[in-house]
Symmetry: none
Subunit: 234 residues, 2 copies
DNA sequence: CGATCGGGTGACAAGTCTGTGACGACCGGG
DNA sequence: CCCGGTCGTCACAGACTTGTCACCCGATCG
């Protein structure tokens, strides 16, 4: 992805082992994040409240106030209730409760994990929260830009002329970004109920859409035997 | 884990041999469960309905109303339909039917069994229900991750390309995590009804699945003579 | 120890799915 | 009325999937 975000997302990394913190922090920084750290639960809570990070990587085992407690406390306050949290733990079995309602972490990783995977998870979590693509006016994917109120699509600085069906198909796909949508679903959403239409018609329109999108067509995946998907990233 | 659950889960133990009941009850109590008991099918049904236990350990051989009948009856009523049931039996061969849809037990143990294993199974069953794996969007097992709406499977940070049949097979296995599923049952769930298909076909698909999953294939167990199982843990 | 059974494996032919080009129907504007 | 553009359908080819089979091997059992 070429366009750097204006402001680096700030990630709070919490672990009582300095080496672990260092490893995680290094990789997140390399991926373009701003990183702040904490070594125990108390200071984690303090920093989370004062510096309002965009996401948090939280070790489960901490001296005194452990990760679960930190998580719960954060969830109680409105200001931090929605903070995306990724839990780190040594054993997968511990995590059953963590993910569920009881604690409310958003994701978890078991040690040892690949740094690349951690970075991926953090990115996904941020993307999901920040984008809130379901009801946004403008959807951006690389240099593809979909401006819904203007009914306008651009690839780079080139404007793409789409018919209204093509436009609607594209927006429906993009709004459920990442999720596969069956042809039947697309028919319902794009063609409103008129299910008398052949599902293969969807294919034809996808083809025309891809043709017009040119290089940006790569954002539309075919999932064989299932349907189509607008990619999360390239 | 340090934090004890607020309320002890209540387990109903059913066997016509008092010694067996005693043995099981003792071990479950030692593991922190509350235990209630029954010596025959009739009273088992009564207690299951009146005292709404969290799980049930049920001997297959009972005078008059046997374990299979108890199981079936419980499944018929909405209030007890989801009650996790572990069947006890003398011979493994009997269990093919018990596990399948016909009866609907969740797990089984063949006598003689180690008390420790029984306790493990009970815990797992409860965990599973708490986790609500039956209808979650994302199932995670170690570094294997199954994202159902995205129709996407990753091992660590590597994405695995599965065909739709393979994907469905994997999700069906993973959703009933820990429980053995017979080939017949898998055929029903993955191939919807079309039981005209050879059960050996399941083997082939499991093979292809394992091939693609690489190291994460360890999550899929073969249970000789019965079927396949998605491991609870490695 | 040999026989039997169940499951893993590689190959394969038939079937299924999708991309593609073409076509006729339709519509609104000249 | 003609025309350009859009739309739904179709037939076809190529790629991929999938169910089956024969074979082998290790486990199991007598």
């Amino acid at each position: 992805m070429s366009s750097e975000p204006r402001v680096k997302p700030k990630i709070l990394v919490v672990d009582d082992e300095p080496d672990a913190v260092e490893l995680v922090a290094f990789n997140l920084k390399a991926a373009g994040f701003e990183v702040i750290t904490a070594g125990d639960g108390e200071s984690a809570l303090r920093r989370a409240r004062q510096e309002s990070p965009d996401a948090m990587v939280l070790d489960l085992m901490l001296p005194e106030v452990d990760g679960i407690e930190v998580c719960k406390q954060l969830r109680r306050h409105p200001r931090t209730a929605a903070l995306p949290i990724i839990m780190l733990t040594a054993r997968a079995e511990e995590m059953d409760r963590v993910i569920g309602l009881e604690v409310g972490a958003d994701d978890y990783l078991t040690k040892p994990f690949s740094p690349r995977e951690l970075v991926l998870r953090v990115k996904n979590l941020l993307k999901r929260r920040a984008r809130n693509e379901e009801d946004t006016d403008v959807i951006q994917a690389g240099d593809l830009r979909i401006d819904i109120p203007r009914h306008q699509v651009t690839v780079g600085d080139r404007e793409v002329q789409l018919t209204s069906t093509e436009f609607k198909l594209l927006t429906v796909l993009a709004r459920r970004r990442g999720r596969v949508q069956s042809r039947e679903q697309l028919l319902r959403d794009v063609w409103n109920y008129e299910s008398l239409i052949d599902t293969r018609t969807v294919d034809t329109h996808v083809r025309r859409l891809r043709e017009k999108l040119g290089p940006a067509a790569r954002w539309i995946d075919t999932v064989r035997g299932v349907g189509y998907r607008f990619r999360e990233s390239l």
